[in-house]
């Protein structure tokens, strides 16, 4: 176990280094820069600007400088928002996205697992069809359609919520439902599949033969194995959901990190692009590690080997 974790950490560190290096150079070779603007500035002013940010130094030198400051945990200043550092921007916005993500995830898991389990237990009945329809809708109707529809119905027509914003607890409801809906669908389908496989296995038949109630069979015996596909889905999904959704944050005007992923690239905000990429990479690696450990605990057939 210990050997497994240290070896995985070392691998992750190497992968992270490669991600940083590739991102650093790729973003530099994209046409346009942080100061490319419609109203052209004189070459002298552009030189002053580049000197101010150290962009006039050779690229390899900038790369080494970046790695050194990264080693100190400093992600540098933002080009687009000069009075904020990348550390601050992430520090301000990640918690917002994480809060929304946690709420959406809770919604997705409760709805998704319940529907998936019901669908598996009552397979090929109307319950299964309702759950499957829900799953298909969640997968095929994009959030940018669901979001505005809910706003139109619940905020504009009924006046129950603000159309957008992130001020009070009521402002959390619509975005969490819309984002959760998109994740509930695959969770319910994966749960259904996993449960169907487990429910057909010998140990379930044994439990039934011993006279265990159906509820007990599902909650005590089947779910642990039936949720395995959901758990492996959740690793990357949690990383994605915690780091925010560009679409949801744009529709609902939420000050989360999801918009920065996209906008920083449009703005050629080199340091912010790197900061968000590093954040995402670290989260994915950490969560995949957690998933492997959880899976070993849930499924006796999986062993943590190298």
């Amino acid at each position: 176990m210990f050997r497994f974790i240290t070896s995985r950490l070392l691998q992750s560190l190497l992968a992270l280094f490669l991600v940083i290096t590739a991102t650093f150079f790729m973003i530099r070779f994209v046409p346009g820069g942080p100061f490319t603007a419609e109203k052209a500035v004189t070459p002298e002013i552009l030189r002053n600007l580049e000197a101010h940010y150290g962009l006039d130094r050779p690229l390899w030198r900038q790369y080494l400088d970046y790695l050194v400051s990264l080693g100190r945990g400093d992600l540098g200043p933002s080009f687009k928002y000069p009075n904020r550092t990348v550390n601050e921007i992430i520090g301000d916005k990640l918690p917002v996205s994480a809060e929304l993500g946690a709420l959406a995830l809770a919604f997705a898991l409760v709805i998704g697992i319940t529907l998936g389990t019901l669908a598996a237990v009552y397979r090929n009945t109307w319950i299964d069809y309702v759950a499957s329809t829900f799953g298909m809708m969640g997968i095929s109707i994009p959030t940018f359609v669901v979001g505005p529809l809910l706003v139109l119905g619940l905020a504009i027509h009924l006046g129950w919520f603000n159309a957008s914003g992130w001020y009070g607890p009521a402002d959390r409801v619509l975005p969490a439902i819309v984002l959760g809906f998109a994740y509930a669908a695959p969770v319910s389908r994966l749960t259904r599949g996993g449960m169907l496989e487990i429910l057909g296995q010998d140990f379930i038949r044994t439990a039934r033969a011993k006279g265990a109630s159906e509820l007990r069979i599902i909650t005590r015996h089947a779910l642990r194995g039936g949720l395995l596909p959901v758990v492996s889905f959740l690793g990357p999904a949690v990383a994605g959901i915690l780091t925010g959704s560009f679409v949801i944050e744009t529709i609902f005007q939420i000050p989360g990190i999801g918009r920065e992923f996209v906008n920083s690239a449009f703005n050629r905000d080199y340091t912010l692009v790197l900061g968000t990429v590093i954040l995402y990479a670290v989260l994915i690696m950490a969560l995949n590690l957690v998933v492997d450990i959880v899976q070993a605990w849930m499924n006796p057939k999986v062993r943590l080997e190298e």
């Binding site: 109203k39 000197a51 687009k80 919520f161 005007q253």
Partner: protein
């Protein structure tokens, strides 16, 4: 079971979607619920809630470059001069009066007694001199420093060729007297000072405490440190949400200010913004989606606001690439564009068809030369240039930045060229910064361009087409045009200057380095209770004159 369920769902979705086309609640009277709770009750503080586009980059007038920042800085700062609410002409600001020397090269500003920062520190002529010195300091790398380059030696100092600031044309003659000396006559200088934030003073005494004058992005613009001198002070700033500005009791003209607070909402998405307007979260939007314009015309004409805007939508030619180096080809392409049909059917926001580069009615100037001619003439010109009926015309491309609206305009014009002239122009879209890079390198045949004036003066549009202007980007170099440009600046008064501009506009319509397409409008939704917002050509609305009907005060 499956069938009734899905049809029920389909009905539900249809029902919701049917509501799309027609807002349910008239925005004038917000419905009950949280939206109504957010609206100020009668007798409460007078709060104006404004959709302000993108998140402001910073609040330092020497650093920022965008429109959303400008809108906020107009509340938080005031320069030597301020703007008239109806036509934006210069009015007294921190300077209560001013004189211009007969040769037009020296401006003397007399500052009012008692002008002070929001922390009570007095504003003197030295404050202005040191502010301008900071703006021009090479190490600060201020992008809009060129706005001050009209001042004697300012450019040399900004480029590091001169290190002694006492040789630059800003002088504090007395504590309340500022003298500005120029390189050459600059007839629009006062308009520029009144309108553009690069001329605002900055609180040197505060900036010095936070890392010095030559550093960008220090903590002085944080809400806990910020000091300004405008009609409003910074009350709170929640990045990517809202910025709150409250009345500044230390503002010299505070008795005139009627609003208690302005809330600037950072809303980038037009559709979200429009929904916020409909729930009563906003009194004024930054934009209105094109698809909503007709809905508002029919349902809420009192909330639809269309104002002229001093901007030109145009297509640049790369005049060095054949066959576009032939004036006849350029004229044929320009004449084949049906502008009336374009603004009526495609842009739909009351835009004004453009037959000249200058806007008819810019500070009393209206160009007489107009691009006119029948499609017949266009066909003949094309034939004379060697492409009868479009035969043999090479495959050219029109470059535009990725956007739904630009694509629609480009497709319509592409169609007009195909139908009227028989030529086929390809369309190419690029992401914004890639497109800017391509434009700058002039790697295009035709390019979509736009230009918004910085101040209300015809100079704004005419200076771009001089040979060495960095925004020209067409390859158009014309010695006559450059000569006229210099002549206009030297003109003794505006009558003489505008006469020269007539010649310049005529020359542009003759040479056509660009195809003028339409003059912009600002299309927004505004709650009719908002008062004191006039159509001002630049969409600047000096906030001390704005107030809300049916609210206290």
């Amino acid at each position: 079971m499956l069938r009734p369920l899905t049809s029920a769902l389909a009905l539900l979705l249809l029902g919701l979607a049917a509501g799309c086309g027609r807002p349910a609640n008239p925005p004038v009277t917000p419905a009950s619920g949280p939206a109504a709770a957010a609206a100020p009750a009668k007798g409460g503080p007078m709060i104006w809630r404004v959709g302000n586009g993108a998140e402001p980059q910073d609040l330092d007038p020497h650093i920022v470059t965008g429109v959303p920042e400008h809108k906020i800085l107009m509340a938080l700062f005031e320069g030597l001069l301020s703007e008239n609410p109806q036509d934006l002409s210069p009015e007294p600001g921190i300077a209560e009066r001013w004189e211009i020397s007969p040769d037009g090269l020296t401006y003397t500003f007399h500052l009012r007694a008692g002008a002070q920062w929001s922390d009570g520190v007095p504003i003197t002529s030295t404050t202005f001199v040191r502010s301008y010195q900071r703006m021009l300091t090479p190490a600060l790398g201020a992008e809009y420093a060129s706005m001050l380059h009209h001042v004697r030696n300012a450019k040399a100092y900004n480029e590091g060729k001169l290190t002694d600031f006492s040789q630059v044309g800003f002088k504090a003659v007395g504590e309340r007297t500022l003298r500005v000396t120029l390189n050459q006559r600059t007839p629009f200088l006062l308009k520029m000072i009144a309108t553009h934030y690069s001329w605002y003073p900055v609180p040197i005494h505060v900036i010095e405490k936070f890392g010095g004058l030559a550093r960008k992005g220090t903590a002085w613009t944080r809400k806990e440190n910020f000091v300004g001198n405008g009609p409003f002070i910074l009350k709170d700033w929640k990045p990517q949400q809202v910025l709150l500005a409250a009345r500044n009791p230390r503002f010299w003209d505070h008795a005139r200010v009627r609003l208690d607070e302005i809330h600037f909402f950072a809303v980038e998405n037009q559709d979200s913004e429009e929904r916020m307007f409909r729930t009563g979260q906003l009194d004024l939007t930054n934009e209105l989606p094109v698809a909503k314009i007709d809905v508002y015309r029919k349902e809420f004409p009192e909330s639809l606001r269309i104002d002229p805007y001093l901007g030109l939508y145009f297509y640049r030619f790369n005049v060095e690439r054949p066959p576009l180096n032939d004036k006849r080809v350029r004229r044929a392409l320009a004449l084949a564009v049906d502008r009336e049909s374009l603004v009526k059917n495609v842009t739909r926001g009351g835009q004004i068809p453009a037959f000249s580069v200058s806007y008819p009615g810019t500070a009393g100037y209206a160009p007489t030369a107009k691009l006119t001619g029948k499609v017949e003439e266009a066909r003949q010109l094309l034939a004379a240039a060697g492409f009868p009926g479009g035969q043999g015309f090479p495959k050219l491309e029109l470059l535009y930045n990725t956007s739904q609206n630009h694509r629609l305009v480009a497709e319509a014009i592409q169609q007009m060229w195909r139908r009227q002239l028989g030529i086929d122009i390809g369309l190419r879209n690029e992401e914004w910064k890639v497109y800017l890079d391509t434009t700058d390198a002039r790697k295009f045949d035709l390019q979509r361009g736009g230009w918004i004036a910085d101040y209300v003066d015809p100079h704004s549009f005419l200076e771009i087409w001089t040979s060495d202007n960095l925004n020209n980007d067409t390859g158009f170099k014309n010695a006559d045009y450059d000569r006229l440009f210099a002549k206009a600046l030297a003109a003794p008064d505006d009558t003489a200057r505008y006469a020269v501009y007539q010649e310049m506009d005529a020359l542009l319509v003759e040479e056509l380095p660009v195809i003028p397409i339409y003059h912009y409008t600002r299309v927004v939704a505004m709650n009719p209770r908002v008062q004191g917002v006039y159509p001002t050509l630049l969409d600047n609305h000096p906030y001390k004159y704005v107030w809300l009907r049916d609210a206290a005060r």
